[in-house]
Amino acid sequence: MIKDSIIEVKNVTFEYSNSEKTKTVIENFSLNIVRGSFTVILGHNGSGKSTLAKLLNGLYKPDSGDVLVDGINTKDEKYELEVKRRVGMVFQNPDNQLLASVVEEDVAFGPENLGLSPQEIRNRVDSSLKAVDMYDFRKNAPHHLSGGQKQRIAIAGIIAMEPECIVLDEPTAMLDPKGRKEIIKTIEKLNKEKNITVILITHFMEEAQNADRVIVMNDGAVYADDTPINVFSDAQMLKNVGLDVPQTTELLLSLKNSGFNVDTKNISIEETADTILKAFHSEGI
């Protein structure tokens, strides 16, 4: 086991097949996720990122190769529950993940299945709801909440299992900008304060700004693996794999092409403005 990695993916191949054809989605894929890190996985639809997510907690088993969670092989049926408790999954559509008619009952569902004492379940439900800032809504009905609030309840349900790692598969795709911000803020907080390892799959660039590491997937393989700033400033690479270039990078690149002397390795609004100022000052204007 590599020191300090929570998840190791070793030479994994995975294919979908029906009676007519077989499609290899992931081929000879390897990846290590460091404990406590915040990793973002980007890729267009069909790049294999959702399949990868489902391999990480044993929902899918590799056709060849291995996935180790805390050293446990996801193929080992004896430890199936252990793997799923350690790596929680949050999906795209919040409506498909909530089942109880009261928020706190929904969050309690996972811990109840772990066979914990009622007091322990109570403690976990309360602290999870507080962690996602939804404690005040504990007696509400989930279907009366906004999309962002529902998605936070889904996350609370996962945290209540006290996982080492959370994998989120496009958790904000169906939310409005406000809901998206709420979710990203929650995820970043869990990563920093509770030291939960986060793997976030998304195609919104701005959600990756504060990540430790960005992995770009294409055709079931790693196409780029670097810091957010290095990935986002490589406009050509992003375009090659059909991803958006952040607006700020696009602006700086357009300026550069029009003869401005600007450093294009900036992604925040503040840095971009400063870069433009600097370019004008260097012209003596």
Binding site: N45, E170, T248, L255, G259, I269, T272, A273
Partner: protein, 289 residues
């Protein structure tokens, strides 16, 4: 010139005469002219979807009117079906509504219900597919074998195959990746150009709105709070901020520049605007500090 669509004092109350009664749309009035692209922005729950569902008679106003070419769409309730074929509505996640065995049959569903058949129906489908660059080889496939983005395109083609004069989209690009998004935007532009159609789009993507729309309609808590050109709406970032909406990223960069003492004398919404404005400043070489 007569507007193609006029909304007059439209109010829609949900759960009327119960303790839960609330106005999802509250006294909204505006006019749309043929060929315009109108963007509707606002938070989830601001009444956008309820508003557009009135425009083709899908739901009835609690009070107020919708005029299409000067006539109240509810004047003859029996003819509402005709209104629905002239004013097309593409729902959120329309791909969930695909159900036929083949892509061809799914696209044919709408025009068939309008009474088209035989060669006329076939020609209609071939025409719309060639305009929207839907390859012939797709037509015999099951829609369920397609990717999410492709399914969305087919669902939209099904509405466009009815040749509506006005076409309304409720978040047509939500949940799509960049490639899917670009292809849906291109479909909308191509359709509008070919038929000089009127387009109304609900979206949260301010960059796309800045590119596409002629005018923006801002909804907040069931009320229309602004209906103006893109420049005037994004120019008033205080109003947008106060209701928690974003302006395009490029506009934010220029607000930040202005705070830093840079001479920004006009509002910038797109990258093209930004580059040409900065080039102009550079050429003038004016001093500032």
């Amino acid at each position: 010139m007569q507007p193609i669509l006029e909304v007059k004092n439209l109010t829609h109350t949900y759960d009327e005469s119960t303790p839960f009664s609330f106005d999802a749309v509250n006294d909204v009035s505006f006019s749309v002219f043929q060929g315009e692209i109108i963007g509707i922005i606002g938070h989830t729950g601001s009444g956008k979807s309820t508003l557009v569902q009135h425009l083709n008679g899908l739901i009835k106003p609690s009070s107020g009117k919708i005029l299409y070419n000067g006539t109240d769409i509810w004047e003859k309730p029996k003819e509402i079906k005709k209104i629905r074929s002239e004013i097309g509505l593409v729902f959120q996640y329309p791909e969930y509504q695909l159900f036929e065995e083949t892509v061809y049959k799914d696209i044919a569903f709408g025009p068939k219900n309008m009474g088209l058949d035989g060669e006329e129906l076939d020609k209609r489908i071939r025409d719309i597919c060639s305009l929207l660059e839907i390859n012939n080889e797709y037509l015999d496939k099951s829609p369920f074998d397609l990717s999410g983005g492709e399914k969305r395109r087919i669902a939209i083609a099904g509405v466009m195959a009815m040749n509506p004069k006005v076409i309304i989209f409720d978040e047509p690009i939500a949940g799509l990746d960049p490639i899917g998004r670009k292809s849906v935007i291109k479909m909308i532009e191509d359709y509008r150009k070919r038929y000089n159609a009127t387009v109304i789009i609900i979206s949260h993507n301010m960059e796309d709105m800045a590119q596409l729309a002629d005018k923006l309609l801002v909804m907040n808590k069931g009320k229309l709070i602004k209906f103006d050109t893109v420049a005037n709406v994004f120019g008033d970032d205080q109003t947008l901020k106060s209701i928690g909406l974003n302006v395009p990223i490029v506009t934010k960069v220029f607000s930040n520049l202005k705070e830093k003492g840079f001479p920004v004398s006009k509002k910038i919404f797109t990258i093209e605007d930004a580059v040409s404005y900065l080039l102009e400043l550079k050429e003038r070489g004016e001093h500032f500090a």
